[in-house]
Structure formats: C-alpha cells, structure tokens
C-alpha cells in the first residue's frame, strides 16, 4: 500500500510540472503583429484606409498610423485587447475595443484596421496569420 501512495504522489507531481510547463509556454509565447492601415477588399467590398488612426494593444504605448502605413508590435501571451481610436469625417472620435484570442502556434499575424472597423465581430477578416510568400 505504502508504495502506491508515494507512487501516486510522484505521478501527480510529474503531471503538475508538465501542466506548469505548458502554462509557461502559453504565458510566455510571443507573437509579432503587423498593423495594416491599407485598403483591403473583403468579399467584394473595397474598404478604404483611414486618414489617421490610433492603435493600442494591452498596456503598450499607442501607435499612430497614417494611410498605407504598416507597423509592427510584439505581444506576449494569448489574449489581448485591441483599442482603435479614429475620427470620421466630422472629426468625431470613436473608440473601438475588442478582446481577442491569438492562435498559439502563429508567430506572425497581420491586423487590418479598416476590416476591423468595418466588422468588429468577424475576426477572420481582420486578424490573419502572416505567411511570407516564398518563391518556390
């Protein structure tokens, strides 16, 4: 009996360590996000890039993008809140905020601001894995 008790303790300890390792992986995983303020064509509709827009993710300093800008930022962990503040024609400020889950295995993602503003719910349109087109 005694051996079983100790055996179980060791097995659970082993399991805990592995779980803890996975947690560390999730907590520490770093992704690079490319922020695009370019015209984008989504299922036939041409979305215009904005004149000036402010992009902020989590606690990081806000970034300003002009038309056709692309910036890069590093984020750590899986869930992030994206905050976009922009002004429409008559300079009224809008603030859009969205909590998103980033896929673990993707190292680099592209975030299109116009698509985000157009439809905040449809994540697949504005947050897509960035694959470098290799000439094969």
């Amino acid at each position: 009996m005694k051996i079983n008790k100790r055996f179980y303790i060791r097995v659970t300890a082993m399991g805990l360590i592995i779980l803890f390792a996975i947690l560390m992986a999730f907590l520490g995983k770093q992704h690079t996000i490319l922020i695009d303020n370019k015209n984008i064509e989504i299922n036939g509709v041409e979305l215009k890039a904005l004149q000036i827009v402010e992009f902020q993710v989590d606690k990081q300093p806000a970034l300003e993008l002009a038309k056709r800008d692309r910036l890069k930022t590093l984020v750590q962990g899986q869930t992030h809140t994206f905050i976009i503040t922009y002004a429409d024609e008559n300079w009224e400020e809008f603030v859009l905020e969205k909590k998103l889950k980033v896929p673990f295995s993707e190292d680099m993602l592209i975030f299109s601001i116009p698509a985000f503003i157009n439809d905040i719910e449809d994540v697949d349109n504005y947050l897509k894995p960035f694959i470098i087109k290799t000439i094969n």
Partner: protein, 539 residues
Amino acid sequence: MKDKKVPLLEMRNISKDFSGNQVLNDINFSIEKGEILGLVGENGAGKSTLMKILFGMDEIRDTGGYGGKVIIKGKEVNFTSPQDALEKGVGMVHQEFSLLPDFSAAENIVLNREPIKYSIVSELFGDRMHTLNREEIDAIAKVAINRLGINLDITMKVSSMPVGHKQFTEIARELSKDVLGETNPIELLVLDEPTAVLSEKEADSLLIAMRKLSEQGISMIFISHRLNEIIDVCDTMMVMRDGLIIKHIPIDGVKVQDIARWMVGREVSNKAKPRKFDYNNIETILDIKNLWVDMPGETARDISLEVKKGEILGIGGMAGQGKLGIPNGVMGLYTAGGTVFFEGSELKLNDPRALLDAGLAFVSEDRRGVGLLLDESLEWNIAFTAMQVQDKYLKKYLKGFMTWRDSKAIEKVTHEYIDQLEIKCTSSKQKAKELSGGNQQKICLAKAFALEPKLLFVSEPTRGIDIGAKSLVLNALRKYNRELGTTIVIISSELEELRAISDRIAIVTDGRIEGILEASKPSEDFGLLMIGQKVEEAI
C-alpha cells in the same frame, strides 16, 4: 547472577576446514546470560574463524560453510551476515576502528541509523530526504555512553579524541543499536582484542565498563593476548590450540603461567637433529642497539640484538607486537632510529640501498605488495634486485656508460632457481601473478639468493602456503645456511616452524626483546615470553 537456565549461546560440535587443512574440529561450549568468557589462543589457533562462523560471514559460506550447530537461547540459528547477527542482538567490536574522523562521537554512534524528522520532500525524492533529528541523536548517544559508565563528550570530533575514547565510541555504537528498538536488545557482544591499542589506564576503564555491561545482563566474548586482563575481568576462560578447545574452566584460581602452558604446550616434532651452536667465541655479524621502527601495526620500540655469524636466529612473538618491524626497519622500508653495526661498521638506516650494498637481503612478509612485480615475468622478478645492486646480468658497453640487459644470463639464472626450488610454472616468461602462493614465495627467495647475501632476513616465509611448499622453503633456507654459511634471521608467528629450523629464538613482546632461548627449550617457556613473563635466560 548466573542463574542456571537455557544458555544464551551454545556451539555444538562445530567443525571447519579450508581446502583440506582442518581449522576447527568438534568445538563445544556455551555461555550463560551476563557471563564474560575469555577466549585465548595463538595466532592461527582458530579463534577468528570461530567468530566468523558465529557472525555468518561470507568468507565461511564461500569456502563450503561449517559443520555443527549454533544455538541461541535454545533455538538453532544461522546468521547470513554481521548485520543479520546484529538484528538478533549479537554485536562485534573489531580491533581497527571503523569510525569517521570528522563526525562527532554522536554522529558515529548512530551512523546510518539516524533518527529522522519527517519532511514532505521525501514523498517526492525518497526517504533519505528526511531531516536528521539532532536532539534524539544526542539522546541516544548519551544513553549508550552511560551504559558503559564513562563520561565522554559526544559532540567532540572523533579525530581529536584519545584512542581509548574511540574504542568506547565503537562499543557504544554497537550498544546503541538496541536503544533504537530496531533490533531486539544486545545480548552478546564479541570484543576482538579491544585493548591491543589502549594504554594501561584506558584498558582498565574498558574492563570496568565491561563489568557494568555484564551486570546489565549482556554476555561477552573477550579475545585478548593480555592474560592478566583476562584474569581480571572474565568469569570463565577458554584456551584454543590447533582448532581444538584445550581448556574451558572458570577463571578463579587460574594463574598466567597455566594459561601460557595450555596455549603453547605441545611436543616439538623436530625431525632434524638440533646442532650444537657454540655462541661464545663466534664473532657477531649484526649488532642492533636500541632500534625503534615506526611500522603501523608492528611498531618496534627498543630492540637490542646480536646475531652471530652463520647461525639461524628465529624471531617469534604474537602478531602486532613488533617482530615484523625489525627487518622492515633495518632494511629501511619504514622510518627507524637507533644504531646497527654490520661486520663492525655502522650502517646508515632508512636507506635500503646501503643495506643491500653491505650484503644484507630481505624477503618481505607482504609477498604481493612488496615482494613481487606481479605484472612482470619471473625472470625480471628474480634478476631485478641483483641487477640493480650488483650490476649482475648486464652487458656493459663503452666502459659502463651503456648497460644492456643480458637476457640470456637472466634466463639461465631463472631456470637454475626454477629447478633448485622446484618452482611449478609454465615458463620463465610467465607473469608472477599467475603463480600459486607457494611458488610466489619461492620466487621471492630466489630473488634474495641471487644477491648471494651475507645475512638474509626472511619474514613470514610460510604464511598462507601449502604444507609441501612449506617444507621445501625451510629446507632451501637450511641448505643455504649449512652450505654457503649465510646467516639467516627468520621472523615467523608460527612458533612450531621456528623451533624446527632455528638454533635459538628471540621472542618480541610489546616492541622489545622479551628473551632469547635455545630452540630445544620447552614451548611453555616461549609461551611465557610471549605474554611478557620473564624466564631465566638461557644464554
């Protein structure tokens, strides 16, 4: 105190033989509770073999077990190991200490049985992660020490302890084993020559401690060469000789002389007629004055001895009394002091080369360690010393600048000795380590003979070799002495052998020459000398 009931330990018709020669035959004795039995006998009388049987040592099991029964409190018992014997309450204290120098007395006493405090980490990494319970360690040590009735600072490191306290720590360790309740209480304690290294005062306090233990009902077997200690502390006494119990009697009324006679007394079977050696007007070849030799275990304190030219002088005495120190000291293998004259001129001590150049040679008792080059051929072993000291078997070129091993001469001399000493080997090129003990001893002899020494020290020539080789070795020595007139000094712990070959025998006890007697003297006289009782000098 000794109530008549089932004896604590009884050994019934115990017998044991090592590959042919009978070491123990039909041993019967028993010990009561709380009784101290003194066990006495010459080296090789079978004492240690008997103890090894009691403790179920592998050495006995590997060489074919033993005959007879060992009965403890009426139940036959067969211990598998000293640890197993300990579980059943039978402890042993050896002569050499097995203590850790940098551990305190308390830590040594509870070594590997330390009481522990539970620690959670042990669930993960095993029991050895429990922390030690310091307070309990000290408590156990105190209890064990008190049972011996002596005061000893248990926190002191063993390395800074006097020898006596080390002995008590060792005994306390055996006693503490039952305090922990792990084993049933210690009932029998075997003490193997515990006082050999103690001073007079320390030995007395040990004897008092033993008396205290026996009052607590612990019986003891006390093995010692100091017969007066036996008489002081033991209740009964047993004398062993050549594997037999000669005497097993209560101690009261026994005198030291009786014990010595029983220990040694047996008729001298000297086949060779003892030659008359006229000592007075033969010049002294070797004169040793106040020699002290620092050889561990065989310290010689103050040896003065004159060796006559052409005689065979035997040096006897109990193990550990210092007789082996003499040859090793004179030949410079161990640091020595005092003055040694050889053929009139003084010899430089602590320099083996000076001795060899003067014409002395030495056959060491430690065949494998000192006497042989185990990985080299027989040729090398025999020719080496003669080549190095006397430039024999060397071809010289360019007037001695270029020396070259003369392999033909080496081979010739090796074959000479192989035939002369009947050394059984496949070829002269065979490696020394492949030979039997007896043949190895003959190689060492041949090495010394090759030097054609004027005086030859031979140390324990017949220890551990078969009977056939023994007589051959002794005959070779006798032949060399008679034909070439080489003076031979033979050191041996087998008195029988010394009396067969020597003209006279010096007995060394406690590092000093106790006395020198003619070989033909009755063995009792030698026995008395061995235990430090003066006998009227023969010469």
